[in-house]
Subunit: 515 residues, 2 copies
């Protein structure tokens, strides 16, 4: 069957299991758009801004465990998507990132939109390729799928010159088999087993696949047998949690509490987690968070099969029995009028519905939400992995596309929400079942604390750089502008009532919560 | 006087004439923020999104003819600023782009926000440097100013590790002299003079400094003497125009009319203009727009002194007399009810107030605004230079900061406005005198035409990718969300009345114009 490069590529993506394309196209991508039109099996989701597309693709990948594609417009379009590609890179989300480019012969003319797209793509991509011809572009697409899905998962950027889209293609290219995850070394299992048998304080520091449901269950068996503690990373791509799952705390974000948490451990056993390090450097404080004398080592890296490694470690230490999981204790709804982060945490614990997907970009407001929701109905929790704010609303959008039957709840700091609020429009357009809770403190609250942390002594001009109250952002109007109904609540009973209403209805809603 | 690196840098910037910083800071920039606090002479303008900061710095530079600085947060913050840095690069706007980075010793720990900032910066920067120590950072800042201001002007990116900000600095570093623009070659002048004397059809294709007021006057003398035509580039960083100035048309954006415009010319003399090339490639159409047999050459490149070159060429062809400039004919206000782009052009021609700065990101709607405004009151017109949409509202913001006594008028396509509408908030916060006219056609109108241009035959799914009507964007609510008053007009008399009201008041306003 004769088809052009664009259609060969789209059909290859569909055949390779890529079913969604988050798009913000321009002229150079028109043949790809036309191909989306002709091909069954690829849902095209329009975004108003590229950060919405890349963040949605990240959220989709975390829930679907497979890549969506994006469609971005040359270097500047990629630029707008970089912040959330950075988060996707840190989440190790598989993602086929398609960036349009001028026709191969046109690039030498340095037209206004010309730029070094590969240069922009490399810092956020595990794999980058520029298509050379329409004959090869289907195979390029298949290679991109493999690159995105090969453990630990990553952003595969395929740059698509317009003529490789519009010239005659070669049809569907088969997607090669995805390589299996490598097994952890026997030496690492033996080392961890010895550490756990030593009787010295040890912690299993869990990240990536090890921190989801299954990994945590095995880790809890090991902990019960050996006395080791369990600790999740500060930021995790995905944790399936709530009633019936093993509760786990996270390494605190601030440096001093993080160091205190780790101080007691002689052995820090990383399972899918990276080295525990400070998010930022501070004058006079160390970057590494474990005790200087601790033995910090990887049982299994994010690239490796962490579940297998945990099973082998469990066998090595004789931890065969299932762990006892404490019965879920769903918090009671708080009864005071006071609307503060602690009360919000209790409300979440009480009201999160079964199967909900929580997309957490709460920043300062949400630091205590985890303990309050251990006993909530079973749900999935997605976090900001790369520290690049502006992920929350797009991530919720993508998660809702991946899981149309699950309620998505966005926990959203107000300053962060302002980077990519356009994604609300995509939620309205696609009738996605997302309720976004905006923590409206009208400041970059984290920076007020950080300004103190770095020892700076701020005056009026500095404080002005951290406040959003002049003029105040009116979230009800912003949400309406994008077609999403919204209300503002200022008391706890009003918050509870509004949240309950939003959970009952289907489709997007936003609640501005005055904190 | 003892001061840390951040304060040394800020004082160096102020001493070097950098008076404004468009900021969107994070933790790693807190010492710089604190230094802004302590130092007189640097206005700090907070932006909600980095593309607002970089676009504002571009608009500021075009009007002030000197750099502002930015303050962005690590790689992802730079990423969000890249699209408008691309436009600034194409406008050759001087810009000191300051990007915070982890402390030098912290980078090796690969904390979540770590990325290759230099790699991201290079494609949009004329100069990139990462600070190595607090002792050198003031000199780095002075070097950045020189790099930004050296002809033709560009983005100088200074990456600022946190410890180079917080450690002991060395005080103000003097800014070296900015190199003079190089003079055009005598051979180029002689070649152009010969071409103009040949009697064969010739065009002076003007860009950069040559297209502003003074260059255009000299070029018009030459044209009057020799019969050459004048033609501006399709997109220009800045043209000072209106009554009393030399009217000039632009090379059309679409390929076929552009080729027709240039077809007659045997000599295409570039003065500050780059090679006339198609914005995008299209199947079966050439990239170069001049006739294949034409002699296309540079009298003066953007790096060179274009005014001097024009003066020398004028002398060589004996064009000493001042050109006759036709008396300005301000268009009458149209009297019909029909609200369409042609009527809007006439309204602009009639109502643009003297000294206004027009920031034009009209895209399809504005293609005929130029002829209708040749006779308007004297004003300045800024265009989208790099094709990266989402510049308009930020550029207007920066222009208003640079010129507080001039009315700024934003001509704004709706699809493009949605990339960086957050800049409206900065307009409200800083009480900037900007009226934004949103051309609300609720579609990516340019892409509907482009889809036809590339020969694709779209269906429902493709058309859906180009429309913004489900749900419709409600610009009145969006603007209110950011603290800017707004109204929507659907008839020509209402548009005229609303525009007149907005011109009379001071401070930001937005009018959604239904087209």
């Amino acid at each position: 069957m004769a088809m052009n490069g664009a259609e060969s590529l789209v059909r290859t993506l569909v055949a390779g299991g890529v079913e969604v394309c988050f798009t913000n196209p321009g002229t150079s991508e028109m043949h790809f758009v036309a191909a989306l039109d002709r091909v069954e099996g690829m849902r095209a989701v329009l975004c108003l801004f590229e950060g919405g597309a890349t963040g949605a693709a990240d959220g989709y990948a975390r829930m679907a465990d497979k890549p969506a594609s994006t469609l971005l417009h040359l270097g500047p379009g990629l630029g707008n998507g970089i912040a959330n590609l950075h988060n996707a890179r840190r989440a190790r989300s598989p993602l086929v990132n398609i960036v349009g480019e001028h026709a191969t012969y046109h690039r030498a003319f340095d037209a206004p939109l010309t730029s070094d797209i590969e240069g922009l793509a490399r810092p956020v991509s595990a794999w980058v390729r520029t298509g050379l011809s329409a004959r090869d572009v289907a195979r390029d697409g298949a290679d991109a799928i493999v690159a995105a899905r090969t453990a630990p998962g990553g952003v595969a950027t395929l740059i698509l010159p317009a003529d490789t889209a519009w010239e005659e293609g070669t049809g569907i290219a088969p997607t090669p088999a995805i390589p299996e995850r490598a097994r952890a070394d026997d030496e690492a299992i033996a080392h961890a087993a010895a550490a756990l048998r030593s009787g010295e304080p040890a912690v299993l520091h869990l990240g990536d696949r090890a921190v989801r449901g299954e990994g945590r269950r095995i880790a809890a068996r090991i902990a019960r047998k050996t006395g080791a503690k369990l600790l999740a990373m500060t930021s995790n791509a995905r944790i399936d949690r709530g009633a019936g799952t093993v509760p786990i705390e996270r390494l605190p974000y601030p440096v001093d509490p993080a160091r205190e948490t780790l101080a007691e451990f002689r052995h820090v056993i990383l399972v899918g987690a990276t080295l525990p390090v400070a998010f930022f450097a501070y004058p006079g404080k160390p970057s590494a968070l474990a005790a200087p004398t601790a033995d910090v080592f990887a049982l299994a890296t994010p690239e490796q099969d962490q579940i297998d490694a945990l099973e082998r470690l469990a066998a090595a230490v004789g931890a065969e029995a299932e762990p006892e999981v404490a019965p879920a204790r769903r918090p009671e709804l708080p009864t005071s009028d006071r609307l503060d982060p602690d009360a919000v945490g209790l409300v979440l614990g009480a009201l999160i519905p079964e199967g909900a997907i929580v997309c957490d970009e709460s920043v300062t407001t949400g630091r205590n939400f985890f303990p309050a929701t251990h006993g909530a109905a079973p749900h999935t929790w997605l976090q900001l992995t790369g520290g690049s704010i502006g992920l929350g609303i797009p991530m919720a959008t993508g998660a809702a596309v991946a899981c149309p039957d699950r309620k998505v709840i966005g926990l959203q700091a107000d300053g962060s929400a302002l980077y990519t609020a356009q994604a609300l429009w995509t939620q309205a357009r696609e009738r996605l079942d997302v309720v976004t809770l905006i923590w409206s403190n009208r400041s970059y609250a984290i920076l007020r604390a950080e300004l103190a942390n770095v020892g700076a002594n701020p005056g009026r001009k500095a404080i002005d750089m951290l406040t959003l109250d002049d003029p105040p952002i009116d979230w009800i109007s912003l949400a309406r502008g994008y077609g999403v109904g919204a209300r503002r609540v200022e008391t706890l009973p009003d918050f509870i009532a509004a949240f309950r209403d939003a959970l009952k209805q289907r489709g997007p809603a936003l609640i501005e919560v005055a904190l």
